[in-house]
Symmetry: D2
Subunit: 484 residues, 4 copies
C-alpha cells in the first residue's frame, strides 16, 4: 500500500475505494497465506469477478510490500500457473480431426483458449488497482532483471510482454507536447529519463524547452503521469553538426518560424518494463507531422545522433591491426592515410558545400591510439585536422559496412539500426559533434545526422528490411568507398 | 471518411494528419484494388509499420464508405486471413516432442503465435484511425447482424470479441457521473440508448438528473464521447415500488442527504458491438461505492427491475393449463386461488409492514386471460385486489423456480439471472409497479426489487454460480412456496 | 441560503467555508437586528475586513431569504448610506482654495472619496459570497423593478450601475462558443433567454447549433454559468431574406466552408440587472473576427433583424391620414401608390440584381388596414404583389427618416439605432421576411439586413454619432426617396 | 509588442486578433504622433468604442516598446488628462443649490462624474489588450519608481491605485494551491518572488512543496499565470522555532495528518504594482479554513516570522546608551542584565513549559556590540547562553512597546504591524530562529511566532485598530515587563 500511496497523483481514487469496500469480503485468504494459494483464489473468482479483482489488488499490494526474495517467490508462483498440458493435447486432437471448416474454426479457437496460461488472466486482474497498468509494466522490469535463464520465468516474461504489447498498442497512446508550462513533476521525470545527453540543471532543461525547441512524448491513458518515450527537437537553420552548440544555454534563440530544419537530437525510452515494445518509429513520424503543420517552412527533418559503439569498434580494429584502416606502413610504424580525394563534410554554416579538402592525411596508428585515449588532444587543431578525416572514414565504414554479430545485414550500431529501420538515411558525419567526455568515450566525438525524407522513407525501409541495404548520402557513401 | 467527419468531437486530429501525410506513400494499393489485396499489403507492412497503419486507415475508410454488399465482401475477405494450418501442425509437433520445460514453454508460445490469425493483426492496425476503437466495435455490431451461420464469419466474430474483451477490460474504463451539466451531445445519447424506460422529453431527462437522482456511465479513454453502459439511480426513502412514481416529473425532490435507499431503476448497454462483454456487475458495485462515500446515510442498495419474460411465460402456462396455477376447478371453469395465508408486500410508504391480507383470492382463468389482454381492466381496484396476489405468486415462481431452456439452474428471466449472478437477492415483488403499456405487455405490470447486501453478495453469488441456488427474502420465498 | 444552495455549480465552496468558519465571530449582530444596523456593522468593519465580509455575506443571504416587502426595506436601508454632506462641503472648500497643483490634486482626490457613498463599499463586500457578482446583478434587477421614482433608490441604482459597469468592462469578459457539446444547463439558459425568435424545442435548438450555425456568448469569470449576451449566426450563401427559412429544421445543412455570408439573426441580452451596460457592439465585432479567422471565404457580415416598432408606427401613420403615405385620392377613397420607378429588392437567389419592377402599385388605404389586421391575407400572392412595395417604401422611411421622441437624430426603431450606432448600414428590406405571428404583429412581416462592412464601420459610426446621418445601400435610399 | 509576445501563455489570442483586424481603421493616428494626441483620439472614441480600444491597444504597445524617457513622457501625457476644473465647479454649484433630495442626489452623481479624470477611462481601455490587466499593474509599478514627487504623476498614481483596488477586490480573486504538479513556469515565479527566505535550488523548492508543506496563492482571473501573493506553510508538531530546521531538505517528512500546528513561514507579495492593495489578511484566513477542512487535527495556526527592523533598532538603542537596556553600570563598563526572573521560552519539544531559567544574565555592552557584529560568535554556546535572554527581552520591548515614527500606536516592526492588524498575537520569541546571514543582519537571528486564534482574532484586531493595544502571550508580556 505504501508504494502506491506515494504516487497519489496516479491513483484512481474511486477504484481504491472499491478496493477498500470489498476487501473484507475477500476474507478467507489472509496475507499469511502463500502467494500461490492466493493466486488460485483469484483465478477461481470465488464470490464473483469484482471480489476476485479486489483480491488481485491485495496480491499486487503484497508484491509491492515484500522484499527481493519475496518478489522472486511471487514471480515463480505466478509463472507456475501454466496452461494445462492435457487440455492442450485434447484441443489439438479436435483440430486435427475436425470434419469441416466450422468444426476446425471452433477447435482452433478452443486450442487457443487452452493455450492461454491462467497467469495471464491474473495479470489482467491487476488492472483493478489504481496504478495497475504501471504495476504490470514494473513487474516486467523486475522480471527482466531477475529471470536469469529460468525457463518458467522466461515464459512468464513472454506472456507479460504480449499483454503489454496489446495494451500499449500505438493506437491507444496520446502524443503530448511537453514545455515549460508542464508540471514540475513531469519535467523532473524528463531529467531522470534523459540518458542520451544528460540534463544537468533546470536551466539546461528550460533551454531545451525554449521557443525554438520542442519536446514530445507518448503517454498511455492509464499512466497519465508517466512518459513512455520522448524526443527532443531543435528548430534550426541547416543541419546541426554539434550537440554542445544545440545545448548551449547562451546561444541566441531563433524565431522558430524561420527555421528550415528540425533536428531530433535525443530520443529516450522511459520504461524498462516496455523494452522491446517499439514506439520510436511512430513518435518520430507523428512529431514530423505535428511540426509540419505548425511550421510550414520546415524543409528537412533529421537527427543529430551518437554512435555509441563506434569508439569500442575502432579500438578493436586498431588492436587487430585491421589493414583496411591502414594504408601505409613506414619505418615499422603503421600509418593511416585518408585517400587524397576524401572530403569531409563542411560545417553547416557554409551551406553544405564541401570546401575543405586534404590532398593526403597521415597519422601514425600509435598517435591515433594516444589521441583516442586523451580527449584533450582532440582539441588541438593540428591534431584534429589530421584526425577528423580518418575518423570520418572509419565512421562511414562502421555505419554502412559493419554488421551485428547475429546478423551481418543488420547495422552493428544500434542507433543506426533504429533509424535505418525507420526509413532514414545516413546523411552526414560530424567529427567532434559531441565533445563531452561521454561523447568521446563512446563515439570518439563523432555524431551523425540521419535524414528522414518523407518521399523516400518507404523505399529505404524496404531496402534495409529486405536486403539489408543501408541508405546514405553520396558524400557518406564516398567516405565508405572500398568497404561497401 | 464522411462518417468519421460527422463525428469530429471523437477525432484525434493529430492522427488524422498523420494519415493524410503518409497516405500518398501508401501508394501502390489504390481503392480500385480488391479488399483482400489491400489487406495483404497491410499485413506485409511494406514500407514499415507506420505506412501499414496508414493503409489500414484507408481500408477502414473504404469499409465505412461502401454499401451493404461491399461490407459483407470486406468481412469475408477479412475472415479469410486465417492462421496457417501447416504452421500450426508444425508448432504442435514441437510441443509434443519438447525435451524439457524450457523447450516446451518455447514451443507452446510458438504454437500460440501460429494460432493467431493474421486478421487479428489487421484489426489492431485499425486503431490508427482517429475513431479506430469505435470502428472495431461497430464492425463487430455489423458482424453480429450479418454473420448468419457462416463459419468463417463466426470465427472472425470470435476474434473481434476477444480483442474487444482485452481492450475493454474493466480496469481500463472510466466511471463518469452524468448530470444536467453534461454536454447536450452526450445527454442526447442517453435518450437514444435508454431502452428500459424510454426518455420521452428533455424535461423527463432533466428530472432523471435532478439532485435526488444519479446517473453514472463507463467510458473507454479512446471513445470518450460514447457511453458503454449507464445506470440511473434514484435516492429515496424505503424501497421504491413503482417506476412511474420514480419518473414523475411533478414529484417533490427529496434532499438526497435524507435518503436511506438507492434504487437502480435502469441499466442500459449502449454498444451492440460489445454484446457479451460484461460491465454491469462492475458498474453497480462502483456506483454503490461512489454513493456510499457521498451519502453515508444510505442503508440499502436495490433495483426496481422489470421481468421482461414474465407475461409471455404466464400466458404459456395458462395455455398449457398448468395445474400449478390452478387450485380449483368449478363448473367447468378453471379458478385460480391464492393460498389463504398468502400475503402481498405492502407499499413502501407503510413501512414495509404487511398489512393487506386476503383469506382467499379467486379468479376464473378466463377472467385472468381477459384481464391480461386489457390493461385498462388492470386499473380496476376490484380486479386488482384479486389479481395482485395471483400475479405475485406466479412471479415468485417464475423468478425462483423456472429455469432457462439450456440450463435449468439458470433463472429463466434474463434480468433475474443478471442480478442473481451479481450476488443480489430477490427482495420484493411489486404488482402494478410499471403501469405503462410496455410494462403490462412484458411483465404484466410486475416489478421486482433486487437487493444488493454487501455482507451477502459473495455468498449469494457462490450459491447461484455453484448450485444455482437463488437468494430471496423470506416474503418472496413464501410466495413461491410449493415451487422451490 | 436556500437560493444559493440551488445553484451549487456556481459556488466557490472554499469561500463558503470561510463564511461558515468566521460566521460565529460576526456575532453581536443577529438576524433579528434591522438591516440598517447590520449594514452599519459591516461598514465599520469591526473585527477586521474578513469578518466584515462574513457579515456582508450574512446580509446577502438574509436579502435572498426575505419576502418582497423585506427586500424593499433592505434596498431603502442600503440607499440611506449616502455620502456625508458636511464632508463633501469641507472637501470642496479645500478644492476651491487650493494653493497649487499638488494641493488641488490632493483636494480633488479627497472630494471624490467624500462623494463615494458608503453603500458602494457594502455592495463590494457582497462579492465575498460565492455567487456575489450575480447577487449584485440581480439586486440591480430588483431595484429596476421596484425603484418607482423614489430618489434615493434611483441614486442607489446609479451606484450599482456604475459598479457593475466597472466589473463588467468588456476587457474582463470571455467570449465562448456555444454548441451542441455545451452543457445542457447552459443550453437551457439559451432557451430561456432567447427572446427574438423563441426556441420551441430541443430539436429547434440543435438545428441552431448545427455545423453551419454558430452561437457565441460573453461570460464574466465570476459568473461562469451565466451568459451575459449571446448571438446566433447562420453561415449561408448570399444575404438571407427570411428567418423561417433560416430556422427550418429540415433545410439542408450547408458546408460552412462554402458559405460567403455570415448572418447574425438573433442577439439577446440575458441579465436584466445589466441593462444599459452595453456588450452587443463588442460581441458582434469579436464574432466577426472569430469567423473571419475560421472561414476565410466569408465575404460579408450582416444581420437579419426585426423592426419591432414598424407596425405600430405604420398604423399610427394610417390613422393620422399621413399624406406622405397617400399619393392619390379617388372617389373618396385614399389610395396608396408606389412611385413608378420604385423597385423592390430582388430575392437573394437572383443574385442581388433588381429585376421586378412595377409601373405603378395602388392599394386603397382601407385595404391596407384590413390586410394588416389579418395575417392570412398577407399570404395571398395577389395581395402581396401590391403590398410588398408599399410596405418596403414605408419601412425605408421608418428606418431612415423617423426619429425617436426625445431625439430626432436617433432612429426611432431601437434595433436600427443599435446597428447604426455600431457602424452598420441598412442594406436591404425583406417583406415577408418573418411570417410568424409575432413578426406580423410587430414588424408587419418586414425584416431588414444591416451590413457590417469593416472598411466603412468607423465612418458610418461617426456620421451617425455626429450628425445623425444614417447609412444605407443605394437601393434602400431610393426606396426612401422624398423622405430623407 | 515584444514584451507581450514573450508571455504568450497569457495572451487572449482572440482579442489579439480583434486588435489586428481593427487596427487599420484606427488610421489617422500614426505612431509618429505624440502620445497626447493619440490619447485624445482614444478618449473621443472616434469610430466607436471598439476602434477606440484598438487604438488604446496600440498606445499600450507603444508604451511597452519605448525607452525610459519615452515612458516618462507617456506617463506625463497620461497624467495631463485631468478633470475639468470648470465642470467641477459648475457641478458643485448644483449640489450646493439643490432644492430637494432628488435634485441633490442627481447633482452629487453629476459631481462625481465631473471629478473623474479622463485618464481613468483610458486606463480602462487598456484592458482590451490581451494582457491588459497586467499592463496596468506594471504601469503603476513604473509610476511608483518614477513619480518622484511630481504632483500630477502622484495624482495619476492615485487613480491607477483606485482602479486596481476595484479590479483586485478580494472577492474576484482565486485561491489556488501550488505544488510539485504545478507548471514549471509558475514555480519559477515563486523562486523569483520569494524574498523572505530565498529559494536556492529546485530541490529546496521541491522540499517546500512536499507532502507536509502547503503553498497557496491568490490569482486574478485575467492574470492567470501571475501569482499576486503566496504563502508557504509547514505542517508540524508544536510551534516551530527555527526556520533553517523547517527548510532542511534532509529533515524527515511528517505525515501531515499527524500535524497539530500549521506554521506560516513565508508570505510574499509578487506585484510591485499592487503595493498598498492588501490581500495578506484574506489569504491567511482562507488558507486557515482550507487547512482546517483538510486536516481536522490541526489545533493551532501560527507564523514563524522575521523581525526585519530589530537589529537596526537595537544598534540605535545601544548607540544612544538607552538606559532601558542597561540595568547596571560597573567599573565604567555598561552591563546588560536580564532580570533574575526572566525566562526564555523553552523549545517546542518540551511542550511549551518554561524550563530554563537564569538567575541573572550579564553582558558588557561592548561585548554585545561585538557579538552583533560577528555572526560566528553567536554560535558559541557560552555567548548565546548570555545573549539569548538579553535579545529576547529587547525583542519583546521592540515588538510590544516601540511605535512607528508617524504613529506611536502602530508597531514599529512592519511584520508585527501586519499580523497584529490581522488579529494575531505575539506568541513566542525564538532567539537564533534564523541563523542565516540575512537573519542575523536584520533580526539579530530572532524569529517570532504570531498566533492566529480564531476565537480571539476579532477582539485582538479591534483592540489594536482602536487603542493600539498589542496582543501577546503572557510569556512575551513578561519579557516586556517595564516597557508596556
Amino acid at each position: 500500500m505504501s508504494d502506491l500511496a506515494e504516487a497519489p497523483g496516479l491513483l484512481d481514487r474511486a477504484l481504491r475505494r472499491v478496493t477498500a469496500l470489498w476487501r473484507d469480503m475477500a476474507g478467507g485468504t489472509s496475507d499469511a497465506e502463500g502467494f500461490a494459494a492466493r493466486m488460485r483464489t483469484c483465478l477461481e473468482a470465488r464470490g464473483g469477478e469484482v471480489s476476485a479483482r479486489a483480491r488481485a489488488a491485495g496480491l499486487a499490494e503484497a508484491y509491492l510490500a515484500t522484499d527481493e526474495a519475496g518478489r522472486l517467490d511471487f514471480l515463480r508462483d505466478l509463472a507456475s500457473f501454466d496452461s494445462d498440458a492435457e487440455a492442450v493435447r485434447a484441443a489439438w486432437e479436435k483440430v486435427a480431426t475436425a470434419a469441416d471448416t466450422a468444426a476446425r474454426a471452433a477447435a482452433k479457437a478452443q486450442l487457443r483458449r487452452a493455450l492461454e496460461p491462467p497467469r495471464l488472466k491474473l495479470l489482467t486482474q491487476f488492472t483493478a488497482i489504481p496504478d495497475g497498468v504501471k504495476f504490470v509494466v514494473d513487474l516486467r522490469a523486475d522480471l527482466l532483471r531477475r529471470m536469469d535463464g529460468a525457463p518458467m520465468l522466461q515464459a512468464l516474461e513472454g506472456d507479460v510482454r504480449s499483454l503489454l504489447a496489446a495494451w500499449f498498442d500505438v493506437g491507444f497512446l496520446e502524443l503530448r507536447r511537453i514545455d515549460w508550462t508542464s508540471s514540475a513533476a513531469l519535467l523532473e521525470k524528463l531529467v531522470h529519463y534523459e540518458a542520451v545527453h544528460r540534463i544537468r540543471t533546470w536551466r539546461d532543461l528550460k533551454n531545451r524547452l525554449d521557443s525554438d525547441r520542442r519536446c514530445y512524448a507518448f503517454f498511455h491513458p492509464r499512466m497519465p503521469a508517466e512518459p513512455l518515450i520522448f524526443v527532443e527537437v531543435a528548430l534550426v537553420k541547416g543541419l546541426a553538426d554539434n550537440v554542445q552548440g544545440l545545448l548551449d544555454e547562451k546561444a541566441p534563440v531563433l524565431d522558430p518560424k524561420k527555421a528550415d530544419t528540425a533536428i531530433f537530437y535525443s530520443i529516450n525510452n522511459c520504461q524498462r518494463g516496455l523494452d522491446g515494445i517499439s514506439f520510436g518509429n511512430f513518435l518520430i513520424k507523428r512529431v514530423v507531422s505535428e511540426l509540419s503543420a505548425e511550421f510550414p517552412n520546415l524543409k528537412q527533418f533529421a537527427t543529430l545522433s551518437p554512435m555509441p559503439g563506434f569508439r569500442h569498434w575502432l579500438e578493436e580494429r586498431i588492436a587487430a591491426q585491421d589493414l583496411a584502416l591502414i594504408t601505409e606502413e613506414e619505418g615499422g610504424a603503421l600509418r593511416l592515410t585518408a585517400p587524397p580525394d576524401l572530403a569531409l563534410p563542411a560545417p553547416a554554416t557554409e551551406g553544405g558545400v564541401v570546401t575543405a579538402r586534404e590532398a593526403s592525411v597521415e597519422l601514425p596508428v600509435a598517435t591515433l591510439r594516444r589521441v583516442l585515449g586523451r580527449r584533450s588532444l582532440a582539441r588541438d587543431e593540428a591534431v584534429t585536422r589530421l584526425l577528423d578525416p580518418i575518423l570520418a572514414r572509419a565512421a562511414a565504414r562502421y555505419l554502412l559496412a559493419e554488421g551485428s554479430r547475429s546478423n551481418p545485414k543488420r547495422a552493428r550500431d544500434p542507433v543506426a539500426h533504429f533509424h535505418l529501420s525507420n526509413g532514414a538515411r545516413v546523411e552526414r558525419l560530424n567529427p567532434r559533434g559531441d565533445t563531452s567526455e561521454k561523447g568521446w568515450r563512446e563515439s570518439a566525438g563523432m555524431m551523425v545526422n540521419y535524414l528522414y525524407d518523407p518521399a523516400k522513407i518507404e523505399d529505404y525501409h524496404e531496402d534495409y528490411a529486405g536486403e539489408g541495404k543501408r541508405a546514405a548520402s553520396s558524400a557518406v557513401k564516398k567516405l565508405a568507398k572500398g568497404f561497401v
